[in-house]
Structures are given as C-alpha cells and as structure tokens.
C-alpha cells in the first residue's frame, strides 16, 4: 500500500509521482513550459551511464540534430524549411523518427548513434491520427479529403513502456550551446497500427523489458541492432481509442471520446 501526500495511491502511481519529483529536482528544463508532440520539445529519456549497467533519466530535445549542422539557425531551417537567396523553398526535413530501414545505412545521419548511442524513450501512451474517407451522400463514392480522428495508443496494464531510440550530442558552433537530441526508431505497423496510423502504416519500435535492456546496455552487432529494431510489439497487447480533436488543449488528453461516425477498428 502506498501513500502520496496522505492519499492512497497504486504502486504505479506512486512511482510516477516519485519520477516527477526526481525530474523536477534535477532538471531546470521542467521549469519552463513544455508541450506535447511535434514541436521539438524535451522528453524524458533513459540514457546509459557510460561504463555501467545503470541509467539516468535525462531531458533530451526530440528531433535528431545532425552533426553537419553548425548553428541553431541551421537547425531551425532544416526543421521548418526556408527560402534561399534566390527565393527557392527548401522543404522541412523531419528527424523526429529514425526509420528502422535507414538506421545503419552507411553515410546516413543515424548510423553512428545506432551503433554507439542507443537510448529509450519513456512513454505512457502516444497519439496518431486515423484517416477516414467519407462517402459522397449522393453518389456513394469516396471523397478525396479524409477526416482525421486522433487516437491514443497505450499498453493496458503497463503504466510505462519503452520505445527504442537513438541520441546525439551536438554543440552550436556559434554560441556554444550544448544539446542532446534524439529520434524514436520506427518500423512497419502491426495489425492495430496499420488501421490507426493508416496514412503511413508505421509505428514506434516498442520494446518489452528484456529487449529494452539489451538495446540500452548490450554490446550489439549490426545484425542484432536490426533484429531488435524490427521487433513488432504484439497488437493484442496494445489498445487504441479515439480522443477529442482538441485533446492537446484538454486538461486530460487521455480521456476517451466517442465519434458516432467513426467505424470500429477491425481486429478480429
């Protein structure tokens, strides 16, 4: 039985609150506002303590910063796109995710990190948008524009789980700012995620505890890195449910929401 501030809580909730305490006391990054999702904010990452089978929980910037970028201005240009002197637009390059298929490719930005700097992203759930194409009420034909329904995906019974990730140290050559950034490894979607993230059919590489341990601490061959990065978490142990379209501004973003026009996922 656990108490927090005199209130009876589950062990999992107690651990969560204690983790928040640790992060609050250790890191200034939580003293500034953070946001959910695709805004290159900071996340809690399990990073190996060099030379030990132990880890720290550290804040890292989501969005892998390649070594060839010299300044924060160049990083921002890569992430958001920019127009060059001739007016030509260079579209953004997203490095939030590292595709499993590209992890170890020679000459690619992720290779060195995949070999030497593997880490784990701590997650209690993540969000993807399911695209549903409605039918024209008169002709019955599918419309070209999809309606997007956000879903929360989690592992029932597991307060936290691990996503295989890689990290990168980077220093701004102009200001000296030191940043540790990371990318989440993604692979082909399993049966559940094929239907939820049906526009891209990808999913984060979620690892069970034994593989998470190996990913973080193992002296791994390239073959083994590929094998672990290919692991597909069993879809029957995952659950997805719709949430409000404005979940990002909602006090409890995890709260389920019913859309009457949304077809059920077909998992049987």
């Amino acid at each position: 039985m656990c108490y927090y501030n005199g209130q009876l809580v589950t062990r999992a909730e107690y651990i969560r609150l204690k983790q928040i305490e640790k992060l609050l006391s250790s890191y200034d990054f939580l003293k500034t506002p953070l946001q959910i999702g695709f805004d290159y904010g900071k996340n809690a990452i399990l990073k190996r303590i060099e030379g030990a089978e132990d880890f720290d929980i550290v804040p890292m910037e989501w969005g892998f910063i390649p070594q060839y970028l010299k300044t924060r201005e160049e990083v921002d240009k890569m992430r958001h796109g920019y127009k060059d002197a001739s007016g030509r637009f260079h579209p953004p390059i997203t490095t939030l995710n590292a595709k499993r298929e590209e992890l170890l490719l020679p000459g690619k930005i992720f290779r060195d990190a995949a070999l030497k700097r593997r880490c784990l992203t701590l997650s209690s759930g993540f969000y993807e948008w399911r695209h549903v194409y409605p039918r024209n009420k008169k002709t019955g034909e599918l419309l070209k524009t999809a309606i997007k329904y956000p879903h929360r995906i989690h592992l029932p019974g597991r307060e936290y789980f691990f996503m295989a990730s890689i990290w990168q140290p980077w220093t701004d050559r102009q200001t000296g700012e030191y940043v540790e950034s990371f990318a989440i490894v993604t692979a082909a979607a399993n049966k559940l995620m094929e239907q939820v993230h049906n526009s891209k059919k990808r999913m984060p590489c979620i690892l069970p505890e034994d593989l998470a341990y190996e990913w973080l601490f193992g002296d791994l061959s390239e073959q083994r890195i590929r094998e672990i990065a290919t692991y597909q978490y069993p879809y029957k142990e995952m659950k997805a449910y719709p949430v409000r379209k404005d979940f990002q501004t909602y006090l409890d973003p995890t709260e389920p929401y019913i859309y009457e026009d949304l077809p059920e996922l077909a998992l049987s």
């Binding site: 927090y4 501030n5 005199g6 209130q7 009876l8 809580v9 589950t10 909730e13 969560r16 609150l17 928040i20 305490e21 992060l23 609050l24 006391s25 939580l30 003293k31 500034t32 506002p33 953070l34 946001q35 959910i36 805004d39 904010g41 996340n43 809690a44 701590l122 997650s123 209690s124 759930g125 936290y160 404005d246 990002q248 501004t249 909602y250 006090l251 409890d252 973003p253 995890t254």
Partner: protein
C-alpha cells in the same frame, strides 16, 4: 496546444500558472512571487479510481487542493 502561461485569482492575488508536460501528464507550476516558493501540482489517481490534486514533491497538499480547482475552473471557462 495547452497554454504555456495563464493567470488565476487566489485570495485577491493574480497568480501566474505555467503549464508543464511530461509523458502526457500535465503539471502546473504556480508562481507566488519572491517570498513563497513556486508550487507544482498535478492530478493523481487515487487507488479507488478517482483523481485528486497533489503537490509534487509532497508536503503542500492543502494548497494543492485549493489551487487545483481554480485551474479546473480556468479550463472549463476557456476550453469548453
């Protein structure tokens, strides 16, 4: 997105509230000025299934229970 900062009224004072997010758990940091240290609160899950406001770290539960509902009111008024 969640507002990064907003204000609430408490005992005649305008208090700045910062929104923090950690692994989808929303925390609020309330700034009281120079003399009183900031308070961080979150909604936690009671073993019996209901949620309650708590301070993080422990020790300022009374204040968490007073400030938490004011934040809920702010959300109700601005986001529903």
């Amino acid at each position: 997105m969640l507002p990064e900062k907003f204000t609430i009224s408490y005992l005649g004072m305008e208090l700045e509230v910062q929104t923090l997010n950690l692994n989808e758990k929303v925390l609020f940091r309330i700034i009281f000025g120079k003399k009183i240290p900031p308070l961080v609160i979150t909604r936690a899950l009671h073993r019996e299934g209901h949620k309650f406001w708590t301070s993080v770290p422990e020790g300022r539960q009374d204040l968490a229970e007073k400030i938490g509902p004011l934040i809920e009111s702010y959300y109700r008024e601005n986001y529903k």
